[in-house]
Amino acid sequence: MSQVDNYQGPTGNLPDGHGRAPERFENPGLPAHKPRLGDVDPKVDKRRQRIVLALFGVSTLGTIGFLVAYFALPTGRDVATIHRSNLWLGLGLAASLLGIGLAAIQWAKSIMNNEEKVEERHPMASRPEVREAAVRNLAEGAKDSGISRRGLLKSAVVGSLALFPLTIAVPLIGEIGGDWNVGKLKHTMWKKGLRLTIDPSGRPIKASDVTIGSVFHVIPDGLDKTPDPLEEKAKAVVLVVRLDPQVVKSEQIPGASYQGIFAFSKICTHVGCPVALYEQQTHHLLCPCHQSTFDVADGARVIFGPAKRPLPQLPITVDDQGYLVAQSDFTQPVGPSFWERLR
């Protein structure tokens, strides 16, 4: 169909000046082999051999050095001693390996015969008679099996082979997801009256301690005593800030803050990194992973980056001793978006 299909490969010679020029140049053939200095001068050859020997020697010295470092340098209690041990062990190992490697390659390049050899290639496809024999064998085998005459047998084989993996897949899928209760993603352990405490000390926070401009990293009271503290913490961590009422542009949930103290989920609504950087002057919260930026003074609205939704606000108030407590759980699921989060 195409021109390349008909292309026969390089043919013809350079034009002699009179005849019709061929389509293509001709491969000039392998250039003559040039001997190395070591091939003609025995002294050079001898020297190259000594280099190889010396390199193998370096390797042996490296191994010895490694063993000396292993026994002589204890790993210690601080970073300096482990770095010292690591450095000398590593240098020993490297010398041991590089010595062998360089010796072998030096040997190959300077001593071994370096005359290039030529080998013919053969087409990958098997020869036609081999192919015919193969097809014949398959046909004979198929005939012997009798499968072509028994259609039901064919479906039975396919069916049972397709079904048997269920014996492994069903229990695996049944058990692998724990309790499969994905509804847990929509709730956290926050509830009415639960105190806000400082992460990680667990000390409760008095509303009067939260001065304007300060930021508190918060966990729920009693997190340690829950059965799955890490899972609870991964959902319940909160940032508490106090804003000058004059800078507050909007509130996410009216009445959810207490005297300018706002509590927002610390889990980014993008893919769930902790939104840990607070810029005091601009009231912006920045996620260091993907730089989603939230404006705390504007209901934690997204002002830049890959997140779409504001950080959910935790409604808070104070208890009778003046400690910050939650009014309820978050009013929406925290963290990254998922299909059924609004259901």
Binding site: V4, D5, F25, R77, L97, A103, E120, R121, V271, C273
Partner: protein, 565 residues
């Protein structure tokens, strides 16, 4: 095996006896006869794949060492080892054992660092090896299957790297897993269930580390090992490709025998790769998890970067704007996560995976190819590959946008916006520029063949005119520049025959022709002997005349040719 010349030395006798014993039981003589002197061509770029193989072996060796001490468990323990900064901290057994490996096991830190560096080099070597194979057209028939195997190996390498990175359970890797969880949850309909499937319940859970461990030390390396075996078996079967050159044809292999030259070179190169990685492990600190601390869902460090091979994903996540998240009815579809996390990687990697088949379709070429292309001689392919690389490069920069901002004192938002546009603008520009550069290099080749090298020797003619003498190329130099075939767009039969009957299959032919034109319409063809003869004749006839001299000087605009067929 009965030897023809009886060996004189005792070692020789012992070797012959062993060989005889083995051959009588396995017939291994056939394999030895076929393989011992098998030829392999030589080129530095053929070592890239070797680096991948040897860093993989280094990974296996150092990895086995690490498994002897690593505890793949999320069980909570209280640290009371020598590292004072974390004493009394509660952490997972996995993190504690990583600390133990670093501080208490002699050589443990070295093996950790060797393992990590080897992983980075493994993936870098795979990527550069793929680039070599791609840009030289080594993936063409009969090697398409091996290209696909290589592609699967790349994805397995990424899986191996990611699963290993996450095992120590430090703050950095924990946040990496958290991001992964966020990605998985975003998948429509089954996302939350997929997340539970991976983590054995809610994130982070205690199931993941043992699961990842099995993935990292058994499933993925097992699959890599099997596919590497297949990959190499196919290399042996196909015989290695070679670069064009005098005496090298599509029907031969010119090179050195496996035994002894490549036994020494390749074997030695393994030790060099391992040795260089050991040097890196000795002198260059990597992943000092004792500074990061155990995983805790609350903290995160600013300026955190994933390992380099994950940067493109990180970058695409950072660059995609949040507005893309949509709510359909009651259901949330976070396209701001799905597009960068799934669609973009598929769009960038997918075409690479199927490229051999795409190109074969465009050329309509059914022949075997064992001679490599010089990248300039395949302008479309080279431009295509470089433009995909440029897209990856933009994403990688995106993955480091915070570091770019802090190091160069730039606005993070400006960088992000610039890169958002760059992702769409850079690849097409890079494509056009690369194609032009390839064509220009081909023209340069033509010019050299037709007019020779500039000698720097100025000659004055009797007429008083000055010209520079050009030295013709020698045979070998010329052959390199004229050996390639001109690939032209496929020609198809007309849609209707002489009696006006519509031909079956015309539409699919037309489609193929369109693709083929896209690939090969713009091209520079190699000098033909006729053109060469004409140029020589022209020189001879006009030598001494002002015209010819001017022609020589103005060779850059000489009889080159861009065909539009």
């Amino acid at each position: 095996m009965t030897t023809t010349t009886p060996p004189a030395t005792p070692t020789g006798k012992a070797a012959a006896a062993t060989a005889d014993w083995l051959d009588q039981r396995t017939g291994i003589g056939v394999a030895v006869k076929g393989l011992a002197r098998k030829l392999f061509p030589e080129h530095w770029s053929f070592m890239l794949g070797e680096i991948a193989l040897y860093s993989f072996i280094t990974l296996l060796l150092s990895g086995v060492f690490l498994t002897m001490f690593f505890v793949p468990s999320a069980d909570e323990v209280t640290y009371n080892g020598p590292w004072s900064a974390l004493q009394g901290t509660s952490m997972s057994a996995a993190f504690a054992s990583t600390l133990k490996l670093s501080f208490e096991v002699r050589g443990g830190l070295l093996m950790r660092q060797v393992h990590h560096w080897a992983a980075l080099i493994f993936l870098a070597a795979i990527v550069t090896h793929m680039m070599r194979v791609f840009f030289t057209g080594a993936f063409r028939k009969p090697r398409e299957i091996n290209w696909v195997i290589g592609f699967v190996l790349l994805t397995l390498g990424l899986a191996a790297g990611f699963s290993g990175y996450s095992l120590p359970d430090d703050v950095l890797s924990g946040n990496g897993l958290r991001i992964t969880d966020g990605l998985i949850r975003g998948i429509p309909i089954i996302g939350t269930y997929m997340s539970y499937f991976v983590f054995g319940g809610e994130f982070p859970g205690t199931a993941l580390i043992p699961r990842l461990f099995t993935v990292h030390v058994l499933l993925v390396p097992g699959a890599i090992l099997a596919l590497v075996g297949l990959h190499l078996a196919l290399v042996f079967l196909h015989k290695h490709t070679q670069f064009p050159g005098s005496g090298r044809t599509n029907n031969n292999v010119v090179g050195y025998p496996l035994f002894p030259v490549y036994t020494a070179k390749a074997g030695g190169f393994f030790f060099i790769v391992f040795g260089v990685i050991a040097l890196m492990g000795a002198a260059m600190q990597i992943n000092p998890v004792w500074n990061y601390g155990p995983y805790d869902p609350a903290p995160v460090s600013a300026g955190a970067q994933p390992d380099w091979y994950m940067l493109f994903l990180e970058g695409s996540l950072r660059l995609t704007p949040g507005q893309l998240e949509v709510v359909l009815g009651n259901f949330t579809v976070p396209l701001n996560v799905l597009i960068p996390g799934l669609v973009i990687p598929l769009l960038l990697l997918g075409p690479l995976a199927v490229y051999p088949f795409l190109e074969a379709y465009a050329t309509g070429d059914k022949r075997e190819h064992h001679l490599l292309d010089r990248p300039r001689n395949a302008p479309f392919r080279t431009a295509f590959g470089i433009s995909i690389l440029s897209a990856f490069f933009v994403l990688v920069l995106g993955g480091s946008n915070d570091l770019l901002a802090t190091h160069f004192h730039l606005s993070l938002n400006d960088i992000t916006w610039t890169l958002r546009f760059a992702f769409f603008l850079v690849p097409p520009i890079v494509f056009a520029v690369t194609r032009r550069v390839c064509l220009a290099l081909q023209r340069k080749d033509r010019e050299l063949v037709l007019h020779g090298h500039e000698s720097g020797r100025i000659v004055r003619f009797a007429s008083g005119e000055y010209v520079e003498v050009h030295t013709p190329l020698d045979e070998d130099e010329r052959w390199i520049r004229v050996q390639h075939e001109p690939i032209r767009p496929v020609q198809i039969a007309p849609g209707e025959d002489s009696r006006g009957v519509r031909r079956k299959g015309y539409k699919s032919d037309l489609r193929r022709q369109r693709v083929s034109r896209l690939f090969f319409e713009t091209r520079v063809e190699p000098v033909t002997p006729a053109e060469y003869a004409a140029a020589q004749e022209h020189l001879a006839v006009t030598a001494g005349h002002g015209d010819g001299a001017r022609e020589q000087i103005g060779a850059g605009t000489g009889p080159e040719r861009i065909s539009h067929s």
